[in-house]
Subunit: 155 residues, 2 copies
């Protein structure tokens, strides 16, 4: 994938996020993408709970969006379009976060992007598993996430 | 618990929800409470994804908020105050929802409010498990949720 294609896909993903009212309300932005890991940012001020730290729902949503976006980027990088849905997820909330939210998603250790994309191309439907985390300023985990996604090819 | 006390606690909980920016953005409101089950409502328009159905993050957040609110109501009904945190959660997304979101939370089958409140009163900290669901207009599940919460008594 060239930088130009990558940049175009990230702009498209960013517009996709902003087009969803609950995601726009969280003020989610793309913080980085290296082909394997997608990082998202959201300001604490728009995602704060009653205790002054990050709302659990926002932590979960940001990790879901990072993983969903990473699946979408891989599908589009392979020249396909698909509707991507989260099928199930498990979240552990480990420590309160009193700073802006930074989530990072990548493929689960046993997941295989090539197999996922080949199945999507051949059968029009494929599943894969991703992990994500939100870190504290000192590098420890504020929350961890594991989820399965299913993609349905369009067109 | 008298109706007056219940009404006061529900007003307080409603203000609590509205005081959290990401929850206010979801336009969450209390739809019902019978002492055992807390129901929350959120309009689809503020919680819609790129496919025109309910955003997974909003489904997860609404179920988390319903369960969190139910723990809070039980703590306050027992005359205590506590900080209530979600410790972990598992969500299954079963069917797309193209209507307003209605979440209902109640205690997990093996959970015991009396034991939870007695532990909180004696030790200042207690855990309990809850389940929640968002239903489709035809009564089937759009999403199901199971989570553990921990309460730390204040004062």
């Amino acid at each position: 994938m060239t930088h130009t294609l990558s940049g175009h896909l990230l702009e498209h993903l960013d517009a996709h996020y902003r087009g969803m009212p609950p995601v726009a309300a969280m003020q989610v932005s793309i913080a980085g993408y290296d082909g394997e890991r997608l990082r998202l940012h959201a300001p604490l001020s728009h995602n704060v709970n009653d205790k002054g730290c990050a709302f659990g729902g926002s932590l979960s949503s940001l990790m879901t969006l990072a993983a969903w976006g990473l699946v979408t980027l891989h599908v589009q990088s392979a020249g396909m379009e698909a509707d991507v849905f989260v099928a199930d997820s498990a979240v552990r909330y480990l420590a309160p976060l009193f700073e802006d939210l930074q989530a990072e998603a990548h493929a689960a250790p046993e997941a295989d992007w090539h197999a996922f994309l080949a199945t999507l191309a051949e059968r029009g439907k494929a599943r894969t598993e991703l992990v994500a985390r939100v870190t504290l300023p000192d590098g420890r985990d504020a929350a961890t996430f594991r989820a399965r996604f299913v993609a349905f090819r369009k067109g």
